[in-house]
Symmetry: C2
Subunit: 351 residues, 2 copies
């Protein structure tokens, strides 16, 4: 027998070819702990040592392993965002905001999309998405799937939610950030009313709850003006859905103003009106929601409510950190703002 040259019990695969902190230490002639100190910017490392380590790092092309670091420290440096969609403007922009804030703080952000609002499916996705150590989660709870995800999240997972306007009385057991789309909807409705319209119809996006906030804002404005609220039309998210609803709206001579739950819906409505020979804004005014980059170029240019989704995303991230670090965070999202363009005007002369 060749003795110790035989594979010892536990003699291991050299597995990954990646260079570790130990390789760097060897190259720099220090202990690996010193390397760790350099990486983490700890004080009390002599400048010459630090330089030697840095040189070794560069030479070997060493990059730290996030997994190992997370495991060893117990501190995570990544967030997972749960969303039902990545292509819709509001969602994508929020995501981009989260990523921006996260990257600035040295966090990596992961995404999980909720394919369906089906409780079992949501539960399954949530299950894998909520890692006990990678932990932190941001849920885009603009819709049913998101709200359900929030509920399905195991207790103890640090979470913040991006939600529709926070209801005054609603108790939410998790930190959350929101854009005041309730006030925004009220504002847009009032704008239309002030233009002289007798009432304003509302084409809604699918709601996350029984009472959508945009719907609530619209209804409030109508109530305050003492105007009876027509039944809101339930819409989807897409232009197609807006188009279908738009055909109904166009067929009804009495509708002269319609507020849409988002710009895609408004685009569909615009298309349906054109097809039906109803002039916008001559015969009917339409106002959108979100101010997607395209909306200024619709025919006619869409009057809409601008929402600072990226700011909301950043706020969500900061809220998450605040939860662990300190206590205070300043909101960075701009308040909603009505962008007046060409798609809304006074009602036609004769009623």
């Amino acid at each position: 027998m060749t003795g110790h040259s035989t594979r010892l019990p536990g003699g291991r695969r050299p597995r990954t070819g990646s260079i570790s902190i130990r390789d760097v230490a060897r190259a720099a002639g220090v202990s690996y702990q010193t390397v760790s100190r350099v990486i983490n910017g700890h004080a009390s490392v002599r400048e010459s040592t630090r330089q030697a380590v840095l040189a070794a790092i560069r030479e070997l092309g060493y990059r730290p392993s996030r997994a190992a670091r997370t495991l060893a420290s117990g501190r995570t440096s990544s967030v997972t965002v749960l969303t039902s969609n990545t292509t819709r403007y509001g969602y994508a922009a929020t995501l981009q905001g989260i990523e921006e804030a996260g990257r600035a703080a040295g966090f990596s952000v992961g995404i999980f999309v909720l394919d369906s609002a089906e409780p079992a499916a949501v539960r399954a996705t949530v299950e894998v998405a909520s890692d006990p150590i990678e932990g932190a989660v941001i849920v885009l709870a603009y819709d049913l799937a998101g709200v359900r995800a929030l509920q399905a999240l195991p207790a103890g997972v640090p979470v913040v939610a991006a939600v529709e306007a926070s209801a005054a009385g609603a108790h939410r057991p998790y930190p959350h950030a929101w854009l005041d789309d309730r006030a925004a909807a009220a504002h847009a409705t009032r704008y239309l009313l002030d233009l002289g319209h007798e009432t304003v119809h509302y084409l809604s996006i699918p709601s996350s709850t029984k009472t959508s906030d945009r719907t609530a804002g619209w209804r409030r404005a109508l109530d305050e003006a003492g105007v009876p609220a027509p039944a809101p039309l339930p819409g989807g998210w897409t232009p197609r859905s807006g188009y279908q609803a738009g055909r109904q709206l166009a067929a009804d001579e009495r509708v002269t103003a319609v507020l849409c739950g988002n710009d895609d819906l408004a685009l569909g409505v615009l298309c349906a009106m054109r097809e039906a020979g109803r002039a916008v804004p001559g015969d009917v005014s339409v106002v959108g929601f979100d101010d997607a980059p395209q909306s200024a170029f619709f025919a006619p240019a869409l009057t809409t409510v601008r929402l600072d989704f990226a700011g909301l995303g950043r706020d969500c991230f900061h809220l998450l950190r605040a939860r662990f670090d300190h206590g205070e965070i300043a909101a960075t999202a701009s308040p909603p703002e009505l962008i007046v363009r060409a798609s809304a005007g006074p009602p036609p002369a004769s009623g």
Copy 2:
């Protein structure tokens, strides 16, 4: 002295409160290795044992730690996608495709956005994004930032790229997936030519390389038809950019057909034409690229090229896995397809 009750050297914080495989093992009365086997679906675990372990898992609410698993196995189960944007339709849809395929395979997907194409910025982002153990990266190299990221990626990082049509002769040192937008551009151009237009103008998106593939396809179709190619107009990504270029185009009586690098650009052009009193498609035909969900509802409905970004995303992911697992993957992305709607028609009667 209370003896061993004093903190031993190395006596540790019980740090994370999270339940580990060992807690489950204790609860189920087996070794932690058996728990590991159950989790990983290994054979040779007696059914009764498996059930006991499963019960313990449920009861304790145990969820495996991805970090620990990755670290121990050396195998990663996550991908990072590098992109310069998340809101643009093509990017967002590709991302969604990657996520879908990834989730189906039990992978988590992270994103890093490249804020700028500035080499130093790209390098910095790439540096943090490429974890030596989480390793795998998909780059959305539709633009300069993406292409630079590809170059800046440290050697040894497993990477696949989503690129513009693969140039026949171009040697790419990494696996990549693409949609044949070169052929698609040629097809769209030919369509316009066949409609009777003397030539076709091209409004390009910013190119990742000196020779964009969409541009190349357009030029090829023109060459094949023996038609001189007008200078392509350099555009950006946004409707605004399309609008600005569109004003120039509208001012030139000779342009009767314009192909746009994406639908946003086309939207801007449509807007500019309308403003200039040039009828679409009566006076000038415009064709877009991508087939965003909005495009069918533009005024007029946009004739455009549909690109299967989600399929491309899925392909990228599978390519990445194939690199390590087996060798073959079947493309799932649908080929580009010209969607004929209302924005293109024959040129005006008199030349």
